[in-house]
Symmetry: C2
Subunit: 291 residues, 2 copies
């Protein structure tokens, strides 16, 4: 019996609201970090970790929740820095002024730096076994760092104005968006001390999910209205960013999305088979993609 996604999401919300401020020792910095972290959002990444822990029989202790919520801190940092004038120069995020529009670019840079660093404090500052903590920190750093997410962002900046091949676009997104989702699933396997073959299947699910997620995001940018998204839409095309619909057309991108979802479902079935557990709860994550 697993908790619903809504329940897990509220566990994350509550942990962040209660604990984030305690680890910050400067008032404006705390406000700035909380402003972006407590601004809502799907809480997809820590929820994926918590759901995975539950599916594999782990207990959602305070230690596990702290270690899992670290990923939301890290995700929030990436959004704050991405929005900066020196990067995407976005004014709105989830319908509200971006962090630098509210606190200035200097404090927003520091808020991002603080959240990134605090993420490592939360994966290691808890009562989990030392090998689990060291492993989580290493895998988080690999996923988020200069051969993972940060490399993807660098590739994104460099790719602007250039037409990428489909392979290059896939590679970019595997780093930029996929790496953290890969980690979200892997973390669940590390926390519950799974054998390598289970961790491999978890990350295969995460990789396919991450690809689907990016394609869907690109498609929504083309198909949604500004009101639904809470940010400027059609922006990617205007700035000559590389997107799946841009390269493949809307129908082609939808086909690519379905392929990624099929791959995720295959990993899901294999996980059920190898662990003898039901992984039906992953259906709730796949239900996110509505076309």
């Amino acid at each position: 019996m697993t908790d619903s996604l809504e329940k897990l999401k509220s566990v994350v919300e509550s942990y962040l609201a209660t604990h984030l401020g305690k680890d910050v020792d400067q008032e404006t910095l705390a406000q700035s970090m909380e402003y972006s972290t407590l601004a809502g959002g799907k809480r997809l990444r820590p929820t994926l970790t918590l759901a995975t822990v539950e599916l594999l029989g782990g207990e959602l202790s305070d230690d596990v929740i702290r270690a899992s919520c670290a990923l939301e801190l890290l995700h929030t940092y990436s959004l704050i820095h991405d929005d900066l004038p020196a990067m995407d120069n976005d004014d709105l995020r989830r319908g509200e002024p971006t962090n630098h529009r509210k606190f200035g670019a200097g404090m927003a840079t520091l808020a991002g730096d603080g959240l990134l660093t605090l993420a490592f404090q939360w994966v290691t500052g808890n009562g989990l076994p030392a090998d689990v903590k060291a492993d989580l920190a290493l895998e988080l750093a690999k996923a988020a760092g200069p051969a993972g997410m940060v490399a993807g962002q660098a590739r994104d900046i460099e790719g602007e104005g250039q037409k990428l091949s489909l392979d290059a676009l896939r590679y970019l997104h595997r780093q930029k968006t996929g790496a953290l989702l890969h980690y979200a699933l892997l973390a669940g396997g590390i926390i519950t001390k799974q054998p390598a073959e289970v961790k491999d299947l978890l990350t295969q699910f995460g990789d396919a999910y991450g690809l689907a997620f990016q394609i869907y995001d690109d498609l929504m940018d083309v198909l949604s209205t500004a009101e639904e998204m809470g940010k400027k839409v059609g922006k990617d095309a205007g700035e000559e960013k590389n997107t799946y619909p841009g390269l493949l057309g809307v129908e082609g991108a939808k086909a690519e999305l379905h392929q990624a979802l099929d791959a995720a479902k295959t990993s899901q079935s294999q996980l059920a088979e190898i662990t003898g557990q039901s992984f039906d709860a992953f259906d709730d994550f796949l239900a996110y993609f509505k076309l």
Copy 2:
């Protein structure tokens, strides 16, 4: 018998030059990260860790060197972000264009993010025992994060144009500069698995050293020529930054420096007494302060 500081510094230089690029998977990002990291500097922080490990009988294995050099990655990130247009807006660092003047503010932001994240990869991605790795990552995050260095930077931004009290200035610098030097010493104690009383004395030395370091830096800003510093001097006063000479006058700041150095020497003697080892090698670090 311990290695000279020059020898330890060259160990750090060589490790950084050989290994940094391997962990970066995007060309411009790698160039940007290497540009600032391999630009010289005293390598004070990792050298302090390595000297401490040696003094306490530890071996300078590749694993120990990797874990120690992480702190130089983290220090370099803090310089890159500090120099950004949104922060101090500096054009020169060690006599060369700052990272954003060379690569643009977007890539410089990412280079800093990459170095910060890679620091955690290096403290946990090595063959040291899991409890040592988890402990290093936690203490590094606490020192560098939003209750440590990043809080000090936020305090610095907020304090501009306001006159701070001496206590407030000390607190700011304990976070901004002191925390990483505190960690540099503590890391040596963690790696060699020292008892709490030795680790306490190590961090007391680090705290006094960090205070001396900041006062000395402030004094040099007033007393040196631009040529010697490789950056603009007299800049702090022009921007109404709070400094020790600004608050206490040059002679008062010198007295404060001597007090900090005396405290460091006391911790050094106590370390020798409690461990039964000579800590004379710390004299080389204290010889840095020439007035």
